[in-house]
């Protein structure tokens, strides 16, 4: 009996009980579908995080205050007030620093912004002109903050596109209008190009204000929340980290690097941590999906066992007419593999469809790796064999006389 005939015969047997066949297939469809969807969701979110972090600049180092040890208590990063504008200027001017291209001192806080009847809570970022270079910010209309704005403590603001739309409405150019923040009136001088962004933080929902204005007029502070540094190249990142670290230790009069009241991260550090987190999530989700696949496999086994019991007489007859064990095993395995393979096929379609929905509604990249599709096919065939083997062997080992007598 050749395989083509076996296939056709199995197919016609399976179509006899369409409902049962359909339900058995459904288990596999859901299993394979969820594996594909969740794996591509994981990959998409990983890509989103990576591209978001990389869009901030790949040569970027971030100095944050805090992380000092005081009496065994490790302070949370960013919770302290040890970084100053003078630190940033020192990094810029020191002869000991040879590997840093640009320095961007920053102070960020949240505040209520009011324009006309619109009132939103948004993040306010105090920056110097270099910020645009270090963080790769482009202007879509007007200008970014310049050096004179910083030295003159000008009451000007540059809006992110989301903030601009929230405050002044879509398709309105807000340049020349004013916005009130913490009872100060700032005139809008520019709007940035959208950087996209979802997930952790929307980089378009932001107001840029000269650093001096933010410190003196809006929040009344004299420290910084971060200093962003652009290294000369990716190769000198570690060196830059060391040079800056050493300078800051000197300036803060600290001898032991373990007592540092600041920390320096590279983009790579942040990227690694974020990838690790999303990677763990992907594994976890796939694990859950794999369980549903297992349940689907058990469903196949159940259906095949019922089929074998139902067709005991038929199996007995086939054996009496000369079917060898191998032929009977192959026949039932063919049936279960057809079930799981069909399930796998529809599962892949479902999985791709669901990942497409994710990408469409959550503005993720649409990633379906060919590897996961290939794997899904292999897994579904393997499930057919693994869960079909026991029922098939049961059928093949039936005694022909017992089977013929079975009512």
């Amino acid at each position: 009996m050749d395989y083509r005939e076996m296939f056709i015969e199995s197919l016609s047997t399976l179509t006899l009980n369409k409902l049962r066949t359909g339900l058995a297939i459904l288990g596999i469809v859901i299993g394979i579908g969820s594996v594909i969807a969740l794996v591509s969701l994981g990959q998409a979110s990983q890509k989103a995080v990576e591209s978001q972090i990389q869009s901030l600049g790949s040569n970027l180092l971030t100095v944050m205050p805090g992380s000092s040890q005081e009496g065994g208590v490790r302070g949370a990063a960013g919770a302290r007030t040890t970084l100053t504008y003078d630190d940033a200027k020192a990094i810029e001017t020191s002869d000991a620093i040879t590997t840093v291209k640009s320095v961007s001192p920053e102070y960020s806080g949240r505040a209520q912004a009011v324009a006309g009847r619109n009132n939103i809570n948004t993040s306010v970022m105090g920056v110097t002109p270099l910020y645009a270079k270090v963080r790769k910010i482009d202007i879509s209309s007007g200008n970014f903050i310049n050096d004179r704005d910083v030295t003159a403590v000008s009451k000007v603001a540059v809006l992110g596109p989301t903030t601009a739309a929230d405050l002044f409405g879509e398709d309105v150019n807000p340049v020349g209008r004013t916005v009130r923040i913490n009872s100060q009136t700032l005139s809008v001088i520019g709007v940035t190009v959208s950087k996209g962004g979802s997930g952790f933080q929307n980089q378009d929902d932001i107001i840029y204000v000269p650093l001096t204005t933010v410190q003196k007029q809006l929040f009344g502070v004299n420290y910084l929340s971060t200093i962003s540094l652009e290294a000369e190249s990716e190769e000198v990142m570690t060196e830059a980290q060391n040079q800056v670290g050493y300078l800051l230790l000197q300036r803060h009069k600290l001898d032991d690097p373990l007592e540092a009241d600041f920390s320096i991260f590279s983009q790579q550090d942040i990227l690694d941590t974020a990838s690790q987190v999303t990677g763990t999530f992907t594994t976890l989700l796939s694990g859950v999906a794999a369980i549903s696949l297992l349940v689907g496999g058990i469903g196949i086994m159940n259906v095949m066992l019922v089929t074998v019991t139902e067709r005991t007489r038929e199996i007995g007859l086939r054996k009496a007419l000369g079917a060898k064990k191998k032929v009977v095993i192959t026949q039932f395995l063919t049936e279960s593999v057809i079930l799981t393979f069909t399930g796998g096929l529809f599962g892949i379609i479902l999985g791709i469809f669901v990942s497409y929905l994710f990408s469409a509604f959550m503005s993720f990249a649409f990633v379906v790796s060919p590897k996961s599709i290939l794997l899904a096919f292999a897994v579904s065939a393997a499930i057919g064999i693994v869960f079909g083997l026991y029922p098939a062997r049961k059928a093949a080992n039936l005694e022909p006389i017992e089977a013929l007598r079975y009512e």
Binding site: M1, E5, L16, R313, E314, L317, R318, K319, A320, L321, G322, A323, K324, K325, K326, V327, E399, P400, I401, L404
Partner: protein
Amino acid sequence: MIKVSKLSKIYRSGEMETVALSDVSFEIKKGEFVAIMGPSGSGKSTLMHILGALDKPTAGKYLLDSANVVEMSDDELAEVRNKKIGFIFQSYNLLPRTSALKNVMLPMVYAGVGKEERRIRAEKYLEMVGLKDRFYHTSNQLSGGQQQRVAIARGLAMNPSILLADEPTGNIASVQAAEIMDIFQKLNGEGHTIIMITHEADIAGYAKRIIHIKDGRIAADGTNNRQRKI
């Protein structure tokens, strides 16, 4: 062709031992038409299972075409059933929802006969049993007698050494039963060896030789001098 000697079969379940056959010996030559007769529980079904290579005896020898069936593996037994024995069952045992033609082709499928050849042979044997216009009827569209004739055609498909019929007329009205017996006698006239198990004396009357079984032993074995003819 068939030689059994000192055949016995004992069923054990726990402490209980049931003797189904004991010390059965006989020989059947090519071209014979033998009826094995006996009341239910006499052991004739057990004998038929052993002759059909569906079951193995506890002791004794069974030579079929000078090969010892008792020593064969499961797959070898399957091959013997496929090539040397044509089964005709009381309840026909046709595949449900399957055409007469496909049912007759089934043993040839397992023997690896080519597609064309299968069809030619299946059509020939179905014609021989008078079902020329029933090729594509499924078993539930056929009467009992017609189903049994499909089964006979299936039994003949591999041109076996023996046709083994187990109560072939047990489920069939008497008029159709006579037709089945007519086919058996014709096949026997053409040289086919037929062994038929029955408990009905009038059906056994169509055979040339009758072996009586009682309590697992041969009670009588002789030529049927008054063979019935249609």
